[in-house]
């Protein structure tokens, strides 16, 4: 029995992410350059495999692959790794890659458990908006995932630097400084916030076409609005010196929790217009 190409590619991506995460987490702790050299190509390989997989899937099934959790989570993990790779090349941030890849592997593996074959989406979702709204929203989630990872590293460094001594302090000193980490989080949110704003606006336009009203306080709409407000608060608080740093990074962590609720919690636990059950 031969596996279809897209399932082989998912396997390659999952394997590459898992091994890459392992290598880069070891690099994070040991700072041994050989682990970085092993991890980086794996990250790029997994990311490429995922985008090829989505293209192959669309080509073979002729169904836009993003309208169920299987395809959507696949794009989410691919975009997270892609945005992270862009950041890492630009600002030399490979030390954090293990955590991004680990999250990408977890979300991809979780997405695979939602595999339901090639069912076409419900009629109201069959629209060109699926090709605009979904990639934009999922990319904004991915940018927030990158912000979340760097916020966690910021918080780790902040709290460990206060109590850490000797070896721990030396290890932490090799990472970018707290203001540099904070600036990276800011840049990631600065990508995510315009994207989620466009996502909510295009979502309203799609809702108008599909359901007859721009905004109906559907759980997904409410949760997205909440996340949008959290990240807007992040941006406003970031201009205040007393809040910049420790507190804004906690806001970023809360924001990502709200994104995960909006993305997965709403689909799984709450039935509304966005639960894509046929």
């Amino acid at each position: 029995m031969t596996l279809p190409l897209d399932e082989i590619l998912i396997g390659i991506a999952l394997g590459a992410y898992t091994l890459g995460a392992l290598a880069l987490v070891i690099y994070f702790f040991s700072q041994d350059e050989s682990f970085r050299k092993a991890g980086v190509p794996l990250a790029i390989l997994g990311c490429l495999a995922q985008f090829v997989q989505l293209a192959v899937r669309f080509e073979t099934t002729h169904v836009w692959p993003l309208l169920n959790l299987y395809g959507s989570l696949s794009l989410f993990s691919a975009m997270s790794v892609a945005i992270y790779i862009g950041f890492a090349f630009r600002y030399r941030l490979w030390f954090a890659g293990g955590f991004v890849l680990a999250l990408a592997a977890i979300f991809l593996a979780y997405g695979v458990t939602w595999y339901e074959g090639t069912m076409p989406p419900v009629p109201s979702l069959q629209s060109y908006w699926a090709k605009i709204h979904v990639p934009i929203v999922v990319s904004s989630y991915a940018a927030f995932l990158v912000a979340f990872v760097f916020s966690c590293i910021y918080l780790l460094k902040y709290y460990a630097a206060r109590s850490g001594t000797g070896a721990v302090a030396r290890w932490l000193a090799s990472f970018p400084s707290l203001p540099q980490l904070d600036a990276i989080v800011y840049r990631a949110v600065a990508i995510g916030l315009p994207l989620i704003s466009i996502g909510i606006i295009t979502g309203a336009m799609w809702a108008h076409e599909a359901w007859g009203a721009y905004w109906q306080w559907d759980p997904k709409e409410t949760a997205a609005l909440f996340s949008w407000i959290v990240y807007l608060a992040y941006m406003h608080l970031h201009t205040r010196h007393a809040w910049r740093g420790l507190r804004t990074n906690w806001v970023s962590v809360i924001g990502f929790a709200s994104i995960i609720f909006c993305y997965l919690g709403v689909n799984i636990w709450i039935s509304g217009l966005h639960s894509y059950k046929v």
Binding site: D182, R187, L193, P194, S197, G212, A213, M235, T239
Partner: protein
């Protein structure tokens, strides 16, 4: 039970909301990707046809982001000079 639903909507505010959405997005993009900064250049004459050029900048926001941009600018100017 046989039934059908009809819906008639009149939304005179839609163009206004559209303009609002456009302004919001433009504002967000300007706010994140264009950092307002003021550059100060000071040229001191140090004799013998030479002068020392000092460069400074202030910005009201995003100076973490601006810092590296400013550093790049200084490097570019130095390269241009030699």
């Amino acid at each position: 039970v046989m039934y059908s639903g009809f819906q008639y909507r009149h939304d005179p505010g839609v163009p206004l909301v559209g303009i609002g959405a456009f302004v919001l997005l433009t504002g967000l993009i300007i706010c994140f990707y264009f950092v307002p900064a003021r550059l100060y250049v000071r040229v001191d004459d140090i004799g013998a046809q030479r002068s020392r050029v000092g460069l400074a900048a202030t910005t009201v926001k995003g100076y973490d982001v601006f810092e590296s941009e400013f550093a790049r600018l200084v490097v570019a100017l130095k390269a241009d000079n030699s």
